[in-house]
Amino acid sequence: MVSVKDIPGASGLTKEQLLAMYQKMALARAVGERERMLNRLGKGPFAVTGEGQEAAQVGVAFALRPGQDWIVPYYRDIGVALTIGQTPRDLLLAHLFRAEDISGGGRNMPSHFSDPKLRIVSTSACVGTQIPHAVGIALASKLRKLDEVTATFFGDGATSTGDWHESMNFAGIHKLPVIFVCEQNWYAISVPWRKQAAVESVASRAEGYGFPGVSVDGNDVLAVYRVAKQAMSRARDGEGPTLIEAVTYRLVPHTSDDDDRRYRSREEVEEWKKKDPLIRFSAWIEEHGIADHSDLERIQEKIAQEVDEASEYAEQAPVAEPESALRHVYVEEEEVV
């Protein structure tokens, strides 16, 4: 068996790291599926998940340093949140709007990840508005001369917004340590990319802001990881931002309220299912002898168990007291530091 180091494409990752990567992707898949199931069962009123985009999410997140680098995600980033350190329990508590939900105590929508400890920043449901926050966080890191990189994630739809442009421009001017990650899944809900832009690749726009844009196969977790690593180096070396366009596909409807048959053919979805990043990575792992089928099955079993436990826990956890809705409009006296 060859040493993992020598496997082309493994990017110097150890066997353990590669399997951890796989585990995060599979976990993200499982949590997404669970949320949609709980929704169908009438337990969570809303589910927005990221099945199909796990390689893009986990590949980038793996290049980041949890608790040191800043994460400004969007609502599809279950894989990012889990890789950085949120747990299935955290996510399902949010899904079921429980008091214990670290992201917002049930106030914000599910999949609006937040965790000050992990430097995952709370986002709204407004598309694109988180991007200037990422830029500002990175500006602060630079002003304070801290070794921190900020990664912000968004869909192709967000690239049409004014906030996206203004942020890209601002980051370019100040050469900020920020990584812009576009999860190009070809749709903003039902609107296909060709109605969103006249260009093939959004990565090409980065040049106009004075920094590189890279388009990468977003279903190839190792390719994404490599690109993210480079972006990290650039950011840490003071060379400024990178725009990563991770080309992928959302295998599920937009949210639990969406019926994607209205706007895309089953054939198209089936074509992309063949490129499922999870299946692809597991094949790669087996092919390169990193693990065999039964190893991966064991990982899957553990995940299923973890998700079951998290789900049970979350279902039994209490919702916040109704009157608590009046709190935290302003910073309360005792919270002032």
Partner: protein
């Protein structure tokens, strides 16, 4: 006559108007596939992608381009997918649409309708629940409509489309499928700026609009049955311009007034109604001008129990009616 829900009535209004006048187009995110609430279902098939136009995710440009088109012979209906997502277009709405006519001394005008689903009660969390009428009712140059029933929605949307000014047309999303109502087969409009007395009464005037009309009517019924109180419920329907005359006439008659709105209390549109009454009907008042609204909290948390705790409902309204009646 057919029974329609409010969202169907809205769809019918657009369909019929687009049939009548081919200058009318609908533009917005996902309108081609029918829209997230199905309000534009069927329009793409009937009118094609040029008149039922999917746009990029860019609200400022949706409104700004609609303004431009309206200057050049098109009558655009710009859809904001949710009221909260109209905020990026705030500048275009209040600096541009609202002021174009004024600043050009009446030489340019902007015949534009901006539709947006608004309001809470559907567990949509803080960004799918907002009331935004207070912002726009404050801005001269705009008209602002808040509809609550299928009949009014259809008639007012037609009026909005035919109005030569920019009109913000707010559709309470919880009212979309709340109930069905008989809708005439023939063309009709409901005038902008006219309130409707949805229930006559003599002990007290209740001024409201939007979803709160339904809650208020329920409360009025309850206090009639349980306490023998006769409450006159006025549905403003339009908040700018609003029907001061109808409200003042009713208050002169009843001497007491309760104002009910879903938005958070401070600076909500009901404050204007209250202030007007306190000045212009002062002599007729037999009790404090009373408001029922949501507390000053971002409306609304995702968690159902928290959301429900904040919002006015028939019980809270009935209790305010009783308190005011007892004054």
């Amino acid at each position: 006559m057919a029974e329609k829900t409010m969202v169907e009535a809205i769809r019918d209004a657009m369909f019929e108007e687009m049939k009548r006048d081919d200058r009318i187009i609908l533009m917005g995110e996902d309108v081609g596939s029918g829209g997230v609430f199905r309000a534009s279902e069927g329009l793409l098939d009937e009118f094609g992608p040029e008149r039922c136009m999917d746009t990029p995710l860019a609200e400022s440009c949706i409104v700004g381009a609609a303004i431009g088109a309206s200057l050049n012979g098109i009558l655009p209906i710009a859809e904001m997918q949710f009221a909260s997502f109209s905020h990026p277009a705030f500048d275009q709405i209040i600096s541009e649409a609202a002021r174009m006519h004024y600043r050009s001394n009446g030489t340019w005008s902007v015949p534009l309708v901006i539709r947006a689903p608004y309001g809470a009660g559907i567990h949509g969390g803080p960004y799918h629940s907002q009331s935004i009428e207070a912002f726009y009712a404050h801005v001269p140059g705009l008209k602002v409509i808040c509809v609550a029933t299928p009949y009014d929605a259809k008639g007012l949307l037609k009026s909005a489309i035919r109005d030569p000014n920019p009109v913000i047309f707010l559709e309470h999303k919880k009212a979309y499928r709340l109930s069905r109502q008989e809708i005439p087969d023939e063309d009709y409009t409901v005038p902008i700026g006219k309130a409707e007395i949805k229930r006559e009464g003599s002990d007290m005037t209740l001024v409201t609009y939007g979803l709160m009309t339904h809650h208020s009517l329920k409360a009025a019924e309850t206090v009639q049955d349980e306490d023998g109180l006769s409450v006159e419920v006025i549905d403003l329907r339009t908040v700018s311009p609003w029907d001061r005359e109808a409200v003042l006439a009713s208050v002169e008659k009843t001497g007491k007034v309760l104002i009910v709105y879903e938005d958070n209390l401070t600076g909500g549109f009901g404050a204007e109604v209250a202030a007007t009454i306190a000045q212009d009907a002062f002599d007729h008042l037999d009790g404090p001008v009373t408001r029922v609204a949501s507390p000053d909290v971002p409306i609304a948390p995702f968690a159902g129990p928290l959301e429900e705790y904040l919002l006015p409902n028939p019980e809270k309204i009935a209790s305010a009616i009783r308190d005011l009646a007892a004054y």
